[in-house]
């Protein structure tokens, strides 16, 4: 049959047709499209916005746009005392708030030169590792949900709920804990809390295997992630990758081993390393790290001895509430610390811990005043989001969701 040409159409109708369409496509196969993804997109783990340039369904370019959750925490730190800032660190990486608390107080203690009692260090290690387990459970669950396996999310959140219950007893808060204090921790770990920790640690291996059994034999899950979002060892280092994402690219680098802080040199643990550098490897690293963290917590429980939980430095460590109400000296110290701060000596330090997402560092500059002159937060999520254009190039739109899930960004931390 002969095709209809323009001449066959009634001129009036043709006129209407031309007026109706303001898009002219000369060659459908050559056409590029800009897709705006986010900031309100459920799979972007917060308010991350991506501008994607698409050719059909293939991503040929990507520009991440961050800053939708920028609250100016670095500016705020310059205007409040070191103690006042502890609750604000909870709001950075809100999936593992206790790790941020630990990172902040360690940086302040390095600046002020405070030695912390061993028991407090072990308690900090336990809560930091529990935070890592909680964070990785959420990461694995939401990652699986992003690629379509919804059940895993419910199961991993069930495990995380147990950690929340432990925090509830230990710190009195489930989510934004603010548990650490400069020079120690807020209160001693109660036997009930430690018993819950022990029970949780004993069960986590079997429970995690249960979750993994839903994924590791799932052909759809494996095939959607295998070989997707590959980053080489050299690129990962150049992009400043740290934490699980770097170890998935074959670099055995862990700050707990490289620059031991707290009592990490006393415990025995393995650093899981995978060499593929793809989304699947990043998932495997996280699952293995949960087991290693459980091992660390187990050893901490054994090594922990009864003792002091706060350093005996009345000029820079807040006294216990009961002492403030009953003793004059403690009341005065409390008043001075709350009103004028702890005044670390003039100097500048950088302290980083192995947070759950990667290297979480604080750079502090003191001029000898009660509040920091400058505070810089080195947040791993910010650094990891930067590499998204490199990771998503050449993949499908649906893979973008998987790649974002695999690098596990938290926007509270990336946007500060």
């Amino acid at each position: 049959m002969d095709r209809l040409t323009k001449d066959d159409v009634h001129p009036k109708i043709l006129q209407k047709l031309l007026e109706d369409s303001d898009i002219t496509i000369e060659d459908a196969l050559e056409n590029e499209m800009i897709l705006n993804m986010g900031p309100q997109h459920p799979a972007t783990h917060g308010v991350l916005r991506l501008l994607l340039r698409l050719d059909g369904e293939t991503v040929i370019g990507c520009v991440p746009d961050v800053g939708y959750l920028h609250r100016g925490y670095e500016k705020m730190a310059e205007n409040m005392s070191y103690y006042e800032y502890i609750p604000h660190t909870d709001r950075l990486d809100y999936i593992s708030p206790l790790a941020n608390n630990v990172a902040w107080v360690l940086a302040v203690e390095k600046l002020a030169g405070i030695e912390v009692p061993v028991r407090a260090q072990y308690i900090r290690m336990i809560v930091a590792e529990l935070a890592r387990i909680a964070s990785h459970l959420v990461a694995i669950g939401s990652f699986a949900m992003d690629v379509g396996a919804l059940t895993v999310f419910l199961w991993t959140l069930r495990e995380r709920e147990k950690i929340m219950d432990i925090w509830d007893i230990l710190c009195g808060a489930r989510f934004t804990n603010s548990y650490t204090r400069i020079g120690g921790v807020a209160n001693d770990a109660q036997p009930e809390a430690l018993a819950l920790v022990k029970r949780f640690i004993d069960e986590i291996d079997a429970n995690l295997s249960e979750c993994e059994s839903l994924l590791n034999t799932n052909r759809i899950f494996i095939e959607r992630l295998d070989g997707v979002g590959v980053i080489s060892k050299e690129d990962a280092l150049s992009y400043g990758y740290t934490g699980p994402n770097l170890r998935a690219s074959g670099v055995e680098f862990d700050l707990r081993r490289a620059t031991p802080y707290l009592q990490y040199d006393k415990v025995d643990f393995r650093i899981p390393v995978f060499t593929e550098g793809d989304c699947l490897a990043r998932y495997f690293v996280r699952a293995d790290e949960v087991r290693e963290s459980a091992k660390i917590v187990k050893q901490c429980l054994q090594l922990m001895q009864p003792g002091e939980i706060k350093a005996n430095l009345p000029k820079s460590v807040l006294p216990q509430k009961t002492e403030i109400y009953s003793k004059m000296e403690e009341l005065i110290h409390d008043f001075m610390i709350v009103n004028f701060g702890i005044n670390p000596p003039v100097g500048e330090v950088y302290h980083a811990i192995e947070g759950s997402k990667g290297e979480l560092g604080f750079y502090l500059v003191s001029k000898g005043e009660g509040h920091p002159w400058k505070c810089k937060i080195r947040s791993p999520s910010f650094i990891h989001i930067q590499s998204l254009p490199h990771l998503v190039k050449g993949h499908m739109v649906s893979d973008v969701v998987a790649i974002i899930g695999s690098i596990d960004p938290i926007m509270g931390e990336a946007d500060k």
Binding site: V66, G67, H70, G72, E74, K75, M76, N79, K110, L111, G113, D235, L237, S238, Y239, G240, T242, V251, F253, A258, T259, G347, E348, V349, Y350, A352, E359, G361, Y363, V365, W373, K374, K376, R378, F382, I383, Q386, S387, D415, K416
Partner: protein
Amino acid sequence: MELKELISQKLQANFPEAEFEFSEYRNEFNVKFNKKFVNPICKFLKEDSELEFLLCEDMTAVDWAKRKNRFTVVYHIFSIKHSFRLVLKADVDESDCTIDTVSSVWKTSNWQERECYDMYGIKFNNHPDLRRIYMPEEFEYHPLRKDFPLLGIPGSLPLPKK
């Protein structure tokens, strides 16, 4: 030879005009130099086979408010080979508020320098994409400067029109 000595000797031998100042505080080794040499020094530290500072952990600036050289740009770089962290510093004056980019050395510096530009207004020469990162494009100020008030400047962020 101790690593700190090795670094200081190598740097002084390769960059005799960089006006190095070495210092140590709380076990952190600080190297301060003239800002003109920032790119070659970083390239050297990364590529030297004995040092291998492959990881640029962090970079930022400090605003000293009333000092002659108002800003100090600070880099924290890490050598996985030696498990050693090095702090690099370069002063930047307000009258010539620029410094060379190191994003050609470490790709991660790209966004870190954008953040530094956004917050302090320090321009990075030869940067591939120097745009604001957190604040809106039309924002005129640099919020982490000491002369920017904590409560913000009224009207600096216009609300969308009805």
